[in-house]
């Protein structure tokens, strides 16, 4: 398939979707405060762009900081789990359990404890992102070839050296697929945190707009949130290419 046609199909679908939406609004005569037309959303997006940019900065800051914190925490836990079976048995059920707690229910608590600043948002994001990153890292490290580990062991390598030279690199492909999922959660987590109370952020912008029934602005904010998530996603893919050139070379060879 030539490269240009890769984007043709999704483009057709998006244009069709917008056309259907526009048609629906025009023919049903629905009020703009219930469902604005696409062109109204586009106009709101254009008008509000400077303000939306301002708010995205806080959201992106919370999302990225939380994601980075989650990654470091996950790496630390993965190393501990790898070096102590006892720790692993103890912590694994807790990890799974933590995932079953609805984040929306503890976000208000974080607000009460840590106020309206950046910190509670960062914590919400970190909580949402920690699980996918930690699990993909641990599973990736477990999947490392035991014969490679043995080879290093015969050479007299320490556990830490084995983690650095075999387990971490072997886990990278799995780690990055977890990170991609976490990246899309991150912006969502930040917006949820902002909904509940903040000085700035896309979540704040959205709450204000929906309280005054300016749905065109709500939709404009949704578009910006999607774009910010997409940006993060693309950044993670670029990072993966930088971190594992060998992996993408192997993949492109086997696809030939």
């Amino acid at each position: 398939m030539p490269r240009s046609s890769k984007f043709t199909a999704p483009l057709v679908f998006i244009v069709a979707l917008i056309a259907i939406w526009q048609g629906l609004v025009t023919f049903s005569g629905i009020e703009a405060w219930l469902l604005p037309a696409p062109w109204q959303v586009a106009a709101a997006l254009k008008d509000m762009l400077p303000l939306l940019m301002y708010h995205s900065q806080s959201t992106l800051l919370a999302a990225v900081t939380g994601l980075v914190a989650a990654v470091f925490l996950a790496l630390a836990v993965a190393v501990l789990m790898d070096s102590s079976p006892w720790f692993k048995r103890g912590i694994y059920p807790l990890l799974v359990l933590s995932q079953t707690i609805p984040i929306i229910s503890i976000a208000p608590l974080l607000l009460i404890w840590f106020g309206l600043g950046l910190l509670p948002k960062v914590i919400v994001v970190a909580l949402v992102c920690f699980f996918p990153v930690a699990v993909s890292m641990v599973e990736g490290m477990e999947a490392a070839d035991p014969d490679m580990v043995n080879l290093l062991r015969v050479m007299g390598a320490s556990n830490w050296k084995i983690i650095k030279t075999v387990r971490f690199p072997a886990a990278l492909p799995s780690f990055f697929s977890g990170l991609k999922i976490a990246g899309t959660y991150a912006v969502m987590g930040a917006v949820i945190g902002e909904w509940l109370g903040a000085g700035s952020g896309l979540g704040v912008f959205m709450t204000r707009a929906s309280h005054s029934y300016q749905l065109d602005r709500v939709f404009a904010a949704i578009i910006v949130i999607s774009s910010v998530s997409l940006l993060l996603f693309v950044l993670i893919i670029l990072l993966a290419r930088l971190a594992m050139p060998w992996y993408f070379k192997e993949r492109s060879r086997s696809n030939d």
Partner: protein, 248 residues
């Protein structure tokens, strides 16, 4: 520095039944010697190697390094397992210096040392390639280079040429003899191939099918240096017949 195996026995528990793999194997590898181990598939050759390098514990018997017990295997042997086990995320150059790096040698210094030896191992120009970009023969040579560069006095090579075609294989065998002469390390070599064992070794141990015992211990008194034509020499054929009688 040599290795002595004294009456080494090992069994595994498989589906609740005891599977005796090694039933008292004794052997000896002297300093700088080339010794081969021949045996049918599944008789326990890799198991014996795992015991020598400390990855498995023998049920009975002893492994002595330089006549002593309790020496760390990692200081004496360098192991080349049946799979090449090159790390896919490391360039060829960084793969072959792995053991030096583990020993605490400065990376740049180890790389410099390895670069100078690349052509000897037929790998010059591929220093920055990843293992997936190399041919089977090259990967095997790279794994061998990694094993030799560890600078241990004894190399354990588990069927290093098993996966290669016949032509590449003969070329690699002769080349291995060069490497052996150059580096002076003792080599303990596992193979299925009688011709290969005869061409390379000074002594050969033949194992019985599982449970493995030494069926035959044979001195290979063929003159060195040896070339590929040696396989047609009368003495070669005599020795081959002796080994075949022990195996079949």
């Amino acid at each position: 520095m040599g290795i002595i195996l004294e009456d080494v026995g090992k069994s595994y528990e498989v589906d609740g039944k005891r599977l005796v793999v090694l039933d008292g194997v004794s052997a000896e590898i002297g300093q700088g010697e080339f010794v081969s181990l021949i045996g049918p598939s599944g008789c326990g050759k890799s198991t014996l190697f795992n015991i020598i390098c400390g990855l498995a514990e023998p049920d009975r018997g002893k492994v002595l390094f330089d006549g002593r017990e309790g020496v760390g295997a990692g200081e004496v042997v360098s192991y080349m397992p049946q799979k090449d086990l090159l790390l896919p995320w490391r360039s060829l150059l960084d793969n072959v210096i792995l053991a030096r790096e583990v020993d605490g040698m400065n990376r740049e210094k180890a790389r410099r040392e390895a670069r100078e030896l690349m052509s000897l191992f037929g790998l010059a120009g591929f220093e920055n390639s990843y293992p997936a970009e190399l041919s089977g023969g090259m990967r095997q040579r790279a794994a061998l280079m990694r094993t030799v560069l560890a600078r241990r006095p004894v190399l354990l090579l588990d069927e290093p040429f098993g996966a290669l075609d016949a032509i590449t294989r003969t070329r690699m065998q002769l080349w291995l003899l060069d490497i052996w002469a150059k580096f002076g390390q003792a080599i303990f070599f596992v193979t299925h191939d009688i011709d290969e064992a005869l061409l390379l070794s000074s002594r050969v141990y033949v194992l019985t099918p599982r449970p493995a015992r030494v069926a035959l211990h044979l001195e290979i008194d063929l003159p060195r240096p040896r070339s590929a034509e040696i396989v047609t020499a009368p003495r070669f054929l005599e020795l081959k017949k002796t080994i075949m009688e022990a195996l079949f």
